[in-house]
């Protein structure tokens, strides 16, 4: 009995157990450390499996000895509280510490010590580490796809310009704050459109868009003279009709000729690729899926049964099928549904498909926000004499959208992570380019480096997005 008492650590023989326990614990750590960093086995004289688990046993006994409650030593109590509450926890903590120590040297040597950075051909990669030369040589393809090297400044310039224009919100003074929503919802997407069509694509596509601009300007000017009652329907139909009229009936020949006078070389969308394509697709899908999703969220809560059922059908259909089949549909089935001479670029088709797909998810998220609003908000708005649209635009949606920021951010995160799937329609963004580079006969055998590189890039993007959405959520939480 006394023997057991002697072995049981308590406060009376604190120092004995503390010294003995920490000694054993450090011995075990030292063993693993030397084993992993200098690859010498201190306990090699023991039989195989015993030498393998000896540090675990030593560390466990050590942790058992120093597990003294309310010892009065601050650091010891802290350690006990955090990693050493029970036998089970002690073993798990030891296992995690050992795993980390064991995995540091191989990771370090693969990433940095044995890796090759210099040179520009496969021959320099003789070490056992990563071959970052491969990434260095291919970086332009990974970033820009097959986009001609000489023209890549166009992509860079567009992205820099769009980032600067996008950050306007941070610098806007209070006087301009109220126009920010309008700016981000209408003007900024339009500018982005112009940049991507005019600048990145170049060539006659811009002239195609110019009909759109003419139509928009004309219809906005005429729109001032339209009575308020019909304004909604006017802006729903007239600009589009005007655009089609201009494009197919009036200026067709002249502008085709004009198209040949372009200043920038036309780069077809098939040559776009790499990380920049990931950004382009995410950006456009983000712009499109938000209003579509909002419309279907409202439709699903509409009091008109037919609209409600159509919305439910739309949402449940897209949510029920995998994105890859949607892209298949856009690639092989959708062209069958269009008039024969009518051709839609495959990038546009992919963007439409992904936007519709994500719109269904956005719709469900927004619906959650609409449902979470108390009934009183609706009733108060109605009692002020607001109609359906006024009520939603000024009262309901601003509150509901604040509620669903984390959900929307998650959907956008999923959207970014889904972009690699466009390999189905033959577009190659970052992951697709990696697969292409991997099969190049001059650079066989570097799959690992490529995937690790892409994983790091995607991880940074997605992690930053999720942290940002968390911050937004916290910020708006205090507002309410």
């Amino acid at each position: 009995m006394s023997k057991i008492n002697f072995l049981k650590p308590n406060k009376s023989n604190l120092n004995t157990f503390l010294y003995l326990g920490s000694f054993l614990f450090f011995i075990s750590l030292l063993d693993v450390f030397i084993n992993s960093f200098f690859s010498t086995n201190l306990t090699g004289f023991l039989p195989g499996s015993l030498s393998f688990i000896l540090p675990l046993i030593l560390g466990f006994i050590g942790l058992f000895f120093i597990r003294i409650e309310l010892s009065g030593i601050k650091q010891l109590d802290l350690i006990n509280k955090h990693i050493n509450t029970s036998n089970f926890n002690a073993i798990l903590s030891l296992l995690i510490i050992f795993t980390v120590i064991k995995s540091i040297p191989p990771i370090l040597s693969w990433f940095f010590i044995d890796a090759s950075f210099a040179g520009d051909s496969k021959d320099v990669c003789t070490g056992s580490g990563a071959c970052w030369t491969y990434i260095k040589v291919w970086i332009r393809r990974f970033m820009y796809g097959m986009y001609p090297n000489g023209e890549q400044w166009r992509i860079n310039l567009s992205f820099i310009a769009l980032t600067l224009l996008g950050s306007v919100g941070y610098f806007a003074t209070d006087r301009f704050k109220k126009y920010l929503t309008l700016y981000y919802v209408v003007i900024y997407p339009l500018i982005a459109f112009l940049f991507i069509f005019f600048f990145i694509s170049g060539g006659p596509v811009f002239f195609d868009l110019s009909y759109g601009i003419i139509a928009a300007i004309l219809s906005i000017i005429v729109g001032f003279f339209i009575p308020n009652k019909f304004k909604f329907y006017y802006f729903l139909f007239v600009p589009l009709a005007l655009y089609i009229l201009l494009k197919y009936f009036i200026f067709y020949e002249e502008l085709i000729e004009l198209g040949k006078l372009d200043g920038l070389n036309w780069v077809e969308t098939g040559a776009w690729g790499g990380l920049s394509l990931t950004f382009i697709i995410s950006f456009f899908c983000l712009i499109f899926c938000f209003p579509i999703g909002m419309a279907f969220a409202l439709g699903r809560r509409s009091e008109f049964p037919l609209i409600r059922y159509i919305s439910i059908g739309f949402i449940e259909f897209w949510r029920g099928v995998p994105l890859i089949t949607v892209l298949f549909m856009s690639a092989v089935m959708f062209p069958m549904f269009l008039p024969e001479d009518f051709f839609i670029d495959k990038l546009v088709r992919a963007i439409i498909a992904i936007a519709l797909f994500e719109a269904a998810y956005v719709a469900e998220v927004i619906r959650g926000g609409l449902q979470a609003l108390p009934r009183g908000q609706y009733e108060a708005a109605k009692s002020l004499g607001m109609g359906y649209w006024k009520m939603h635009i000024f009262v309901i949606l601003p509150q509901a959208l604040k509620l669903v920021i984390p959900g929307i951010a998650n959907t956008f995160l999923a959207l970014v992570k889904d972009t690699p799937l466009i390999f189905v329609v033959g577009l190659l963004e970052l992951v697709g380019m990696l697969n292409l580079a991997k099969t190049n006969p001059k650079w066989l055998g570097f799959a690992m480096e490529g995937y690790v590189f892409a994983a790091i890039i995607f991880w940074i993007i997605c992690y930053a997005m999720s942290k940002y959405s968390y911050n937004l959520e916290q910020k708006y939480k205090t507002d309410r």
Partner: protein, 383 residues
């Protein structure tokens, strides 16, 4: 009158727009198909498929019909989803609980896992496992046996095959065990409610589920033997394992990445669920004298499950839909076999894509109906 008109007009416009779009599409489709000489119909399903599939759960070769090929793809999809769901649930629950651990290291380790795997696109993970990690495995002739029976090689995982005799009797014994456990459980509940006695149902259940199948071995004439894979030389440098069951590397890469990826989301659901049960519940349960085990089993878990199940169902659905990424690494799932090869051969784009989409739709709907039923069963019964 005005009110009626106000409610009819928007609906009419919407319906007209939908009909117009669909009509436009079908009209074009008809013209296009006429021009290309394709006729619409599902008759091709019974034609001979004349292509081979690498990995199939049912007997299949080129002489079977397209419908059979569809079944092969569907079964492969279901196989990978079921394995993935099981593994993802196990990992997810462990990690989710680990994230709530008071142990700082375990907690950080779990959140590191979640943040790491959640923020990398699934397709990239699949490619990584398939093209980079699994390619580093040894060749069949160099592979070392794991526990003497498993062989993990670059050509796949070889596991011993079960060879059963009188398998049906074994199944009956398991069914009998399950049925008797249910009966005992209802009886025990009745006894506890009327007399207050507790019957150790769990121990009896464990005993039954072991003893009855064991009896079937001893008395029922059931026999189980293992066929351990053996190395066989095809040519001087080409080896293969003969016998046993071989799991192709595509299946392994797909299951690994799907379950590791989905487990992060399930872990978050589990964490949210357990955190969602208020502390007062735990304290109240402890204060009426329940043991910690009983607190967990009778008070915390039933309430946590209510919060956990709906989002977890969504994750199961996502996993099933994500399994279609198999097409990227040539695992013969529904998309690759049917919407890929079969479509290429027949050119029946509309029929095949619509069948594929309907299949996924019905898979999702059936899982969600099942889970909704379960959810309703365990929901709080409010008066």
């Amino acid at each position: 009158m005005n009110f009626k008109l106000k409610s009819i007009v928007p609906q009419l416009i919407t319906v007209l727009a939908v009909i117009l779009v669909f009509g436009f599409f079908t009209y074009n489709a008809q013209i296009n198909m006429e021009n290309r000489g394709i006729d619409f119909g599902y008759g091709f399903l019974s034609q001979e498929s004349s292509f081979d599939v690498q990995f199939s759960l049912i007997e299949y070769d080129g002489s079977h019909s397209y419908f059979r090929a569809y079944l092969v793809g569907l079964l492969n999809t279901i196989l990978v989803s079921v394995i993935g769901i099981i593994i993802a649930t196990i990992i997810g629950v462990i990690v989710g609980i680990a994230r709530l651990s008071p142990n700082y290291l375990i907690n950080k380790f779990a959140s590191f896992y979640v943040e790491f795997f959640r923020n990398i696109p699934l397709l990239l993970q699949i490619f990584f496992w398939y093209f980079a990690a699994l390619r580093a495995l040894p060749l069949p002739q160099d592979a070392e046996a794991i526990f003497g029976v498993f062989f993990l090689t670059i050509k796949g995982l070889y596991i011993p095959a079960f060879i059963w005799e009188n398998l049906n009797i074994f199944f009956y014994s398991i069914i009998a065990a399950v049925v008797s456990i249910i009966i005992i459980k209802t009886y025990a509940k009745k006894v506890q409610e009327t007399q207050g006695k507790q019957i150790p149902v769990f121990l009896i259940g464990v005993g039954l589920i072991f003893i009855l199948p064991l009896l079937s071995f001893l008395i029922g004439g059931v026999n189980l033997s293992f066929e351990i894979p053996k190395l066989k030389q095809l040519a001087t440098t080409s080896f293969i394992y003969d016998g046993g069951v071989s799991l192709p590397p595509e299946l392994i890469a797909l299951t690994l990445s799907l379950s590791l990826y989905t487990a992060t989301f399930i872990a978050e659901c589990v964490r949210a669920g357990i955190q969602g049960v208020s502390k007062g519940q735990k304290e109240a349960a402890a204060s009426i004298g329940l043991t910690p085990n009983q607190v967990l089993k009778l008070v915390i878990m039933p309430q946590a499950l209510r919060i956990i199940i709906p989002p977890t169902t969504n994750q199961y659905l996502n996993l099933t839909k994500n399994s279609s990424l198999a097409a990227a690494i040539a695992y013969p799932d529904l998309v690759l076999v049917f919407a890929g090869t079969a479509l290429m051969q027949t050119g029946k784009a509309i029929e095949i894509v619509s069948i594929t989409m309907l299949t996924y739709l019905s898979l999702s709907v059936s899982i969600s109906i099942l889970m909704n039923w379960y959810n309703r069963k365990i929901a709080i019964k409010e008066k």
